[in-house]
């Protein structure tokens, strides 16, 4: 096992009716900016619950944060914060709203010349507004971690700071009942691939981390399809299991003390940046190709994955690995996401630009051993055609 420091102070309020916990979490004299996306929270009742819980506090609003939140949108919130002396941000939405809010939290108090430097130059922020979250889409884990991804001019880039970790997050599975099948499928696959990025590497004998990761993968495999099936899609326990799994998939726990990959994400970000493909759908396309191209480097973990997560115990090692990869693709397809570039109308003619962008963004040594060069990234994309 590798050395690590683990620290996750976000307070999680989980379950039906927990939105009212906001009232205890946010100071009564706070000036609160409520941030959200396209307005679905107004039709599904979440907005009303949030406003009721905020009571007499001074409340301002900033809406229109889009999937893969854009810098240009986010900075429009800064004058509202400044003019109204906003001192608490409440993100109500999925990972994009939370990520966007994290950037705003740092940008609002940024002392440098240009808040884009937080991302482009990875300038460290020294302070940030406090953030609370009401999560409406289980997927990214952003509600209790320190990372965020922001897009500008087709460049989708990450930043992280412990200062933007949410103080609290409300996870009410009931609010996920109104999600579309596409959102549910994307969310489950996103959480699944987050787990794989921290699990499918090489063995360092981190037995508990492995078992926790396998537990998340198995839960998503079991519960994900049920959340799409007509007969069970209203079942709150299924939604709860998915929601808790998505949070645990990327809150720092399963990645503590083990190597991490993230090549699938970095390559996937280029597909979103250049072709506007849903984040999770880039992952479902890239991960199977990573499993194939990195088969040797990941052999021991691929076998463990086959045996423990999919109960594939018959056949040769090669057959077990083949079967695990194909079961992974089947699972993704069951969740309604693509597993090939051709499924999203991309072909070999698009690869040059993707690899150029990846290189421009400095993603030239990817993977748990930092040995995935642009040449190997190209091979991965070719395998995904």
């Amino acid at each position: 096992m590798l050395n690590f420091t683990f620290h996750n102070p976000t307070r999680i309020h989980f379950g039906n009716g927990q939105i009212q916990a906001i009232a205890k979490e946010i100071p009564e004299d706070a000036k609160v900016l409520v941030l959200y996306g396209g307005g679905s929270i107004k039709s599904n009742g979440v907005y009303d619950q949030v406003i009721a819980a905020l009571g007499d506090r001074a409340v301002f609003e900033f809406s229109g944060i889009e999937p893969n939140p854009s810098y240009d949108t986010l900075v429009k919130s800064l004058p509202i914060i400044r003019d109204n002396k906003v001192d608490y941000l409440l993100a109500v939405g999925g990972g994009s709203v939370v990520d966007g809010t994290k950037f705003i939290a740092g940008a609002a108090l940024f002392e440098g010349d240009d808040p884009w430097d937080i991302i482009a130059k990875q300038q460290r922020i020294k302070q940030a507004l406090p953030i609370g979250v009401v999560l409406t889409l289980p997927a990214t884990g952003s509600e209790s971690n320190i990372g965020a991804v922001v897009t500008r001019n087709g460049n989708k880039l990450p930043f992280s700071s412990a200062l933007v970790r949410p103080k609290f997050a409300v996870l009410d599975p009931a609010v996920t009942l109104t999600l579309s099948d596409r959102q549910v499928g994307n969310g489950v696959v996103d959480a699944f691939v987050h787990t794989m990025e921290q699990y499918l590497t090489y063995n360092v004998n981190g037995k508990l981390q492995d078992r926790f990761a396998e537990g998340i993968l198995q839960t998503l495999i079991e519960e994900g399809p049920k959340a799409l099936a007509a007969k069970t899609k209203e079942d709150l326990d299924i939604r709860a299991n998915i929601m808790w799994s998505a949070t645990m998939a990327l809150n720092g726990l399963i990645g503590s003390g083990v190597p991490q990959d993230w090549a699938t994400h970095m390559i996937g970000h280029e597909l979103t940046g250049s072709h506007n493909i849903d984040h999770a759908r880039t992952l479902s396309i890239v991960l199977p190709a990573v499993m194939k191209v990195r088969r040797e480097a990941k052999r021991e973990k691929l076998l463990q994955y086959a045996e423990r997560v999919w109960q594939v115990t018959d056949g040769s090692d090669e057959e077990k690995i083949d079967r695990a990869i194909s079961l992974t693709e089947d699972f993704f397809e069951k969740m309604g996401v693509p597993t090939r570039l051709s499924h999203v109308d991309l072909n070999a003619s698009h690869l040059d630009e993707l690899i150029t962008k990846l290189t421009e963004h400095g993603m030239v040594k990817l993977g748990e051993k930092r040995d995935i060069t642009p040449k190997i990234s190209r091979e991965i994309l070719e395998t995904a055609l």
Copy 2:
């Protein structure tokens, strides 16, 4: 799944050489009281590492905190704290030292008449000195939770407060290499039973909590005996897996959103209070009897435990449950702990007093359904004879 709030802000520094992290964690102008037990930290090098990491800080010492820390011992630290204006407590030891330090942290700033009221009258503390931990014995999980148990005049009683949760904990598996076999065995069994108290109840469809609990149990079953075997007892990865499992077994995570039992602990506390039996050894005696007496109430989970933790898949349901209970007893015996009251020289003549004490301590409705009356507790003890 049940509603829950999960919050665990303790920062964990895990791995070889992490004791030096103390230097970053404790303010440079702090007046630090280092608390420890019988002095083994002086012979195994831990004390020297701690003192080196504390550097120029004002350091005071309080030693002699015994297993099942006694009130009478603990209060002797209070004048040292007061006279020297100590403002940070650093517990260096196992669960007893940490529990004792938690009581001291609250007692030092207690505004009531008598600090024993914190326990006897469960008076809420309003403030506490900050606590750091250097853990030397993985077992209780006290290093990142809010609970503690203190003994006075044969009464072993719990209290808890979020104010006494350690700010940080250093978990260096290397320091556990000098533990005795008895300490290792006790620690593994303690962590195992903590997990069972939160797992072996009734099914609420908390799929991830179940899988995490099963992951801890399987890791302890795999790694525990290796930490006692001559060939592998120096293996740091094995020690690391045990140490991380013990922390995760009682940091609030696997108990979030599921019912909890704790009857084994409450009955076990009377065995320690009246007969001075090691805490873990009371658990290994009581748990198998609880599994037998509560077989019907716990049937569904007993079957899941048999199948998932022990891979018992053949035979009737009754046979699977029998086999799981007997495998649990075998595992405890492999760890060198007793599984019957007769193994610690107790017999039927001792039961009256134990049940009287249990009743006096208010433990009259135990278990996940609060339906274990003193009569059923007696049946459990009779089964354990």
